[in-house]
Symmetry: C2
Subunit: 332 residues, 2 copies
């Protein structure tokens, strides 16, 4: 900047004025400075600028998702990125892998970096630690899983409803032995889905077969093993509800290995690429990820813009997409 000022024969402040397009600079000076800027390929130092400006923004938001390479997280990230771009803001993305400590570390790191806001798909059970972090004024919005121990905006799917839709779909087709695979029970999405699954039964005066309900499954391989085990039972399930996208993959694999993919019904939670190309095409509960991403960004940038209204908790309704695998009748 000093060099630019020297080359243009003006003071530092005037260069600053031109660079920031402030009014009150005569056209010819503006032109001289502009030429000098181009000639020297001058780039303003955003960090220094932010340092001086009171309450300036870093133009950066943090996004902590479960796993950047998971299709759900990735799609969400993409929606966030698009919304952030409109605010000339970059997205700093990181994967938590359900690591509670990592969540805390990364939030701390992001706040220390002075990001303008944070989007969190939490791995932790409770987020009391956030209260201290948010005192710095950094807004946070939760997505996919609601906050506990701290009251901030959130955008989540109605997981109980989604699971209920899946279970009702299967029950309505006559299934009575429905297996269900869920993620870690301490994660609210998993417990809500389980609750919805159960409620669909009790509403009809039925009860889920507890031997067929398995919680705490964290990987595709594990899901596959569990399905194999369930199919070995004396009274194997006639249908399966996979409570998460990677669990559905495991279930599909196990059924194919058994040659049962056309005999046992399957409904997955979360849509994913190619689900419609499987044999049979996979019936799923779909969350509108792009919409969720947009809503999250909307809340976050409202907060960044100074919105101090009470925290909003947006619930998005999932829908059932019938493609074939969920419409297999019992005993097929």
């Amino acid at each position: 900047m000093r060099d630019v000022a020297a080359l243009a024969g003006v003071s530092l402040k005037t260069v600053s004025r031109v660079v920031n397009e402030e009014p009150g600079v005569s056209p010819d000076v503006r032109e001289r400075v502009g030429a000098a800027v181009r000639r020297l390929d001058y780039r303003p130092n955003l960090a220094a600028s932010n340092l001086r400006r009171t309450g300036a923004r870093s133009g950066l938001i943090g996004a902590l998702v479960q796993d950047v390479s998971n299709s759900f997280s990735a799609s969400l990230l993409r929606a966030l990125e698009d919304a952030a771009r409109a605010h000339r803001t970059g997205v700093l993305a990181a994967s938590l892998d359900e690591g509670v400590d990592r969540e805390q570390e990364l939030v701390h790191d992001l706040v220390t970096r002075r990001v303008d806001g944070v989007v969190i798909m939490p791995a932790s059970d409770r987020q009391d630690y956030l209260v201290a972090e948010l005192r710095t004024g950094t807004p946070a919005v939760f997505v996919d899983r609601p906050p506990r121990g701290v009251d901030v905006d959130s955008v989540v799917a109605d997981n109980a409803l989604g699971a209920r839709l899946a279970a009702e779909h299967l029950l309505d087709r006559g299934h009575r032995r429905i297996a269900a695979l869920f993620h870690l029970p301490q994660i609210t999405t998993a417990s809500d889905r389980r609750a919805g699954f159960t409620a669909a039964h009790t509403d009809r005066g039925l009860r889920p077969d507890e031997r067929l309900v398995v919680e705490g499954i964290t990987s595709t391989d594990e899901a596959s093993e569990v399905v194999h085990r369930l199919l070995d039972l004396a009274e194997p399930p006639t249908a399966i509800f996979a409570g998460r996208n990677i669990l559905a993959s495991g279930a599909v694999r196990a059924l194919q290995e058994r040659g049962l993919h056309r005999s046992v019904a399957l409904v997955g939670f979360d849509d994913f690429p190619l689900a419609d190309l499987l044999d049979p095409p996979l019936t799923v509960i779909r969350q509108d990820v792009s919409k969720m991403g947009r809503l999250v960004a909307e809340r976050l940038f409202a907060r960044i813009g100074g919105d101090t209204s009470p925290p909003q908790h947006v619930v998005v309704e999932p829908t059932l997409v019938a493609r074939g695998s969920g419409e297999i009748p019992p005993g097929a």
Copy 2:
């Protein structure tokens, strides 16, 4: 920091020393300052620190990929993230969507933000513009597609080899009318793959049927339409080579719609989740994405660390993964 110094009864500089764990501070002062830091929840301002320190790092790298939500880009991003974490560095990710202008803008933006380095999966044909950007000292590493017009490190797959493997696999099984779908020809990955496809034929004294080779396909839907059209020909292909993951999806869809998925062979380029669960399981050319990500990070952090050796161009060999779809004989 001023408050911390006041509370601990020391000077600013001493607080700085304690925070940065510099030697030469007596244990009791260190303790007092530490207590004050905790009590006030003091967080050092990284931007100010970087401003003062000469040649300090921002602890941030930029990653410009084709599309954050594409499984290839997402997996690469994840590998980058893991490697960056080891260097206490965050990843600023953005999608280019093959937008040439956006690529330039984003690179400019990242350099202006003073990121420590940039990973680029370029959308542009040539990157002469980078020369000016890199004069600032920001290192760049290309991935998936090699640089042109600027000489920097790169990590790419041997695309010609991959396509050759696919074509040979099909030719060896007796196919002679092999359709091939490619992305935009100005993108080197696409043209290299096409060249490899052709070479496999000429090596055997054959020639690809040009009516069956289609370039410039950018979406799944378009790929699907093209396959439908090719299947309508008087002499339809007995096998298809899809030169990119999203094109393979379109081909699978078209074949399924025709009920030909078990009669026409198909080999895709790029592995993706669930490819092994399709009917029939999809034979693909696999690039080891995690490995590529690691290699990219290795080069980038070496450069950030001061490595000034000549640019390295790492080529990763893809492999063919036979799963079924590529082993369908002609006329099945």
